[in-house]
Amino acid sequence: MLEQQLVNGLTLGVIYALIAVGYTMVYGVIELINFAHGEIYMLGAFFCVSFITVVGLPLWVAIPCAMICCALLGIAIDIFAYRPIRKAHRLAALITAIGMSIFLQNLAMVIWGSRPRAFPQEAVPAFFSEQAFAFSDVTITWLHLFIFGITFSMMIGLFLIISKTRVGTAMRALAQNRTCCQLMGINVNRVISFTFVLGSAMGAMAGILVALFYNTLYPTMGYVAGVKAFAAAVLGGIGSVPGAMFGGIVLGIAEALGAGYVSSLYRDGVAYAVLIAVIIFRPSGILGKALVDKA
């Protein structure tokens, strides 16, 4: 039973990690908690399903298309909602982000209706639900493996982009000092847009994976996932990409074990208890560096 709980937790955790990476990157470069990120995740799932049912694309084409849509949407949100108040007080940006989240959630409800939808089964390969491995009592389906495979390869890809490319270097530089970056001739807005592209595409992927895994998508699905991913980002140390990945996985496993062994009513409680403990004992997060105040 413990092994199965670990598999459950890991599945949940890698998906949290995918969303958390988006939070943490945006926070890293513009110090904004982008609460609309949960809605990007929800829209990713809805775009993907619409590409399949309305346009008639196969799953393998619909997924990248949905990711591209969400990436563009991420840029649009930044340009229309966050860029105009870039120099305003941080609280203004936070409230704008919450407003954006409510707006997108209700927009989705207007477009797709409030009823929960099923993922179109005819588009999903049949072998996904078949068992891939079985040892003792543990069930791992091909879909589990697909989720692990996709998330880990995306994270490795992200890691390479951030550490090896010019734009990745610019992102890291921006996270350290925006004014200096401008002085060095970096097009700051372009780098921020690129951050939104990466984060939103990964968030969209997470939404699609969740919709595939649970066979359900609904307009309010982004809220809880967003809050959990935010918790994961803080847990790992907000601003740190490896931290977000690590935080997501820890949170997923903590939740699964909490729900499985303590009480399922406390599953969110366990997640937040872990979060509070980290904030109290290690405010910079598990993998975050203790920040020297910029003032």
Partner: protein
């Protein structure tokens, strides 16, 4: 400048003259239900039923030429919002009564306002037991009625059904942590011992949860032969689906919260072999009801669910009362409270409805099941 004044005066005159000639003020009915947030889909079901009834009445000329107008108030199934919405209804004197609330928790929170201000409400869906005790004012007048049975009846009925008809022995329970889920679970667990059922595990969850695998994994080790889903179809479908993925091959059953075609859409083949109690069974309904069922499908493009049918009847009952005694809150209450015998009852698509002294309808429960991806009446009913 002079010309503009002339035009304005002329316009004002036209408006003044047209005023009395316009049709009379519509009669307003409040429909407080969740239309956004996590339970919005259920609110959608209720809205469809009420809207259909009102459209029918209005097409036939309304009540003495006055149209009926529904005022949809969104309370997101949240008690806090429901209380706010209730005072909004109380302040609007043109609202005669209402159909709602949908969720028991929301209804309970709004109830004190209706009782204090004297507004007759008919809930099509709130099944929680405590509503019966809190719906009377100081003079003992009932203000909140419901055309649906109570959870204690339903929970006990389910326990008897799965034991006597399905022959189950060990039951695992999943319950939604709200008034509906807990009330139903408690009634079921209370009866379980009497009918020889053993409850091997009981797991709560919050609305909007998507992952149930940890709880299912721990329930699986108890080897239950039945899985009781005491909640709504949205989460119920996920539970059924994930149970199947974990290799739990058990009979699933639940109450009216599961009854919606979306349960099958979302749970796919994992929905097969699910039994549920419903206050309205399309296949067993009378001829009038068949017309309604066909029309509902034509207008909404989906099969009718019990929430829509009950809401259709609740609206019908309220409109019948207004037609009989006029648009007056107190008189409507008197009329509804006097519907205590089958003779004075209301004949709707869900059958005959009449109330006991607590405003609770005496309705039978039917059992339906999912077979090969479709709802069918369970082969054996229990009465």
């Amino acid at each position: 400048m002079k010309k503009i004044v002339q035009i304005l005066v002329a316009a004002a005159m036209t408006l003044l003259l047209a005023g009395p000639a316009m049709a009379e003020e519509p009669i307003k009915i409040a429909v407080p239900s969740p239309f956004s947030g996590g339970a919005a889909a259920y609110g959608d079901n209720v809205k469809a039923g009420v809207a259909m009834k009102i459209a029918e009445v209005n097409e036939a000329g309304g009540i003495d030429g006055r149209m009926i107008e529904a005022v949809y108030l969104d309370e997101m199934c949240e008690p806090k919002e429901a209380a706010t919405v209730a005072s909004k209804i109380a302040q609007d004197d043109s609202i005669i009564g209402g159909v709602g609330h949908l969720c028991s928790s929301a209804h309970l929170a709004a109830l004190p306002t209706y009782v204090r201000k004297g507004i007759p409400m008919i809930s099509p869906t709130a099944t929680n037991v405590t509503i019966s005790e809190k719906n009377k004012d100081r003079d003992g007048r009932v203000w909140s009625f419901r055309d649906v049975y109570r959870d204690d009846y339903q929970g006990k009925f389910l326990a008897r059904y799965v034991s006597e008809v399905l022959g189950l022995k060990k039951i695992a329970i999943f319950y939604e942590n709200n008034d509906y889920g807990i009330g139903l679970k408690d009634a079921f667990s209370g009866e379980a011992g009497n009918v020889g059922l053993e409850v091997v595990g009981s797991e709560g969850y919050m609305k909007g949860t998507t992952d149930f695998t940890p709880q299912l994994t721990s329930l699986k080790s108890d080897n239950p032969d039945g899985l009781f889903i005491s909640g709504y179809y949205n989460e119920g479908a996920l539970i059924a689906n994930q149970a199947k993925k974990l290799g739990m091959d058990v009979i699933k059953f639940g109450a009216d919260g599961l009854d919606n075609v979306d349960y099958i859409n979302l749970a796919k083949d994992a929905a097969d072999g699910t039994y549920m109690t419903v206050p309205f069974l399309a296949d067993a309904a009378g001829e009038d009801a068949q017309v309604f069922i066909a029309k509902f499908k034509e207008e909404t493009g989906r099969d009718v669910d019990w929430m829509s049918a009950n809401a259709y009847d609740a609206a019908g009952m309220l409109i019948a009362a207004i037609r009989e005694v006029g648009a007056d809150r107190a008189k409507v209450q008197e009329y509804l409270a006097a519907m205590t015998t089958p003779e004075k009852g209301y004949q709707g698509v869900t059958g005959l409805t009449y109330f006991d002294e607590h405003g609770d309808a005496q309705k039978a429960a039917y059992v339906k099941m999912v077979k090969d991806g479709e709802f069918i009446p369970a082969p054996e009913q229990l009465n």
